[in-house]
Each structure stands twice: as C-alpha cells, then as structure tokens.
C-alpha cells in the first residue's frame, strides 16, 4: 500500500501557526474530494491535537517543533503528529457526558480528545522517550 500523496507540515509551537496548519489540511482534504463537513472534521482533529501538544506537551513554550505528516491512500488518510515534549498521560478520559439543561455543569474544556475519538477511526499514541508520536486514521468511503 503506497500513498497517493504525502506531505509533512512543520511549525514552531505557537498558537499563531496552528491556523496555517488547519487551513492546509482542510484544502488538501477537499482536493481529494472529501465533503466540506469531512474536510472540517479532519482540520478540527489536527488542530485539537496540535493545540494539545502546544499547551500540554510543550507547556506553551513557543520555540519547539510540531510536525504533522499527512499520508493519503485510496481508502484512508493517516495523520501523524510528532512532538518532543512531555509524554501524554495514559488513560486520559475522552468522553463528554453532561446534561444540557444543567447550566452550572456545562463543559468549558476537555472537549478536544472527545472530538478526536468521536471523529477518527483509529488512534494510536507512542512515546519513545525523545519523541511522542500520535497517529490518527480516517477511512474513506469508497468512491462511486
């Protein structure tokens, strides 16, 4: 299985650069004929993962690298996000349970991991001490 397209996007770890990443992902997904909705979802997951790297793995230091590799296959897209920050704790919750009527307890955060798990088909996290590698896979519906 060889990819039909492959690109690596690298930014320094500031939230200013994340929109550049997001816009790129969105348009590349449109290019391979994803719907506007699906392209948004791909953009959202990459943005959430990169925001997490910047805020949590790098603790908002702005001089570190965040690398996003995108591999397009006929039947899937694989996103790989690499950082050299602190390792993500295992077993982070990624559910979003709340009562929409209960104003005081509406969630104001912790929605990023939930969204990623909701949208993506496969998720994998690997930390080898010097590098953290987060992989998200989305399967594509067969072309008509």
């Amino acid at each position: 299985m060889s990819p039909s397209g492959n690109i690596k996007l690298t930014i320094l770890s500031t939230l200013d650069n994340v929109p550049l990443l997001g816009a790129s992902i969105n348009k590349m997904c449109s290019l391979i004929s994803m719907s506007e909705e699906q392209a948004f979802q791909m953009e959202l997951c990459v943005v959430e993962a990169c925001n997490n790297v910047i805020k949590h793995a790098y603790n908002n230091a702005s001089d570190k690298e965040v690398e996003v590799e995108v591999r397009f296959f006929d039947d899937r897209i694989i996103f790989t996000i690499c950082d050299a920050g602190t390792r993500k704790p295992t077993d982070l919750p990624h559910t979003l349970d709340y009562d929409p009527q209960d104003l005081d307890n509406l969630p104001e955060g912790r929605m990023g991991l939930f969204l990623i798990h909701e949208i993506m088909d496969e998720i994998h996290y690997e930390a080898d001490g010097s590098k953290n590698i987060f992989t998200m896979t989305k399967f594509l519906s067969p072309k008509p």
Binding site: P19, F40, L106
Partner: protein
C-alpha cells in the same frame, strides 16, 4: 480580537470579525464577552456568520460566557455555516444554545 457589536433595543448583537474562533483568540473573546455581560447586556445574539472555523477552545469560551451570564439572560447563536454547526452538534451544544439561521431571526425570537 476584532469584534463588531450593535445594540438592537434590549439585545446586544456580537459579531466576531475574524474567520476563526479558536485557541489563539479564545481567551480574548471570552474577556470581551464577560465585559459585555458585566456592563449590563443580558440578551446576546452571537452572530457567527463571518466565522468558518470553531475549535473546542472557541466553543469552550462561548459556553463559559453563558455560565458567567447565568440564568439572568440568554445567549443565542445566529448564522452558523456547515462546519461550525457540526461543532455544536458533535458536542451536543446545539441542545444548550438556541440556534437561528440569521441574525434577524435570532433578534425576532429574543424580542418576543
């Protein structure tokens, strides 16, 4: 963050003048909303027709503003496109906020 506002009778219309309501601007957006609320606005239409991307931090800032306002008023959402709408439905926030296709319809609903 660039935000346009206008007062229509009792209602404050808040329209972010940027394409993205994301982690980069979430804090300053929330500060602006809290300022509107603290200076007496209790009925707010948040017009997102110029916004084509909202992430979980941006959405969190909207929810946060609603919690600051509490039960003494309401924030309703107007003009969301396909992408932003998904953000509300994926998180079920479309059950928390009343959503209207246009600013006008939102204003009408609030002045009833």
């Amino acid at each position: 963050m660039n935000i346009e506002t206008k007062k229509v009778q009792d209602v404050l219309v808040v329209k972010p003048a940027e394409k993205r309501l994301d982690a980069k601007v979430a804090v300053s957006f929330k500060e602006a909303m809290v300022e509107f609320i603290n200076t007496g606005s209790t009925l707010i239409v948040l017009d997102l027709s110029g916004v084509d991307f909202v992430d979980s931090s941006g959405l969190g800032a909207i929810v946060s503003s609603l919690k600051v306002l509490g039960r003494k008023g309401d924030i309703v959402i107007a003009g969301v496109g396909t992408s932003v709408l998904q953000m509300f439905s994926l998180t079920r926030m479309d059950k928390v906020f009343k959503m209207f296709p246009t600013q006008e319809e939102a204003l009408q609903a609030l002045s009833r």
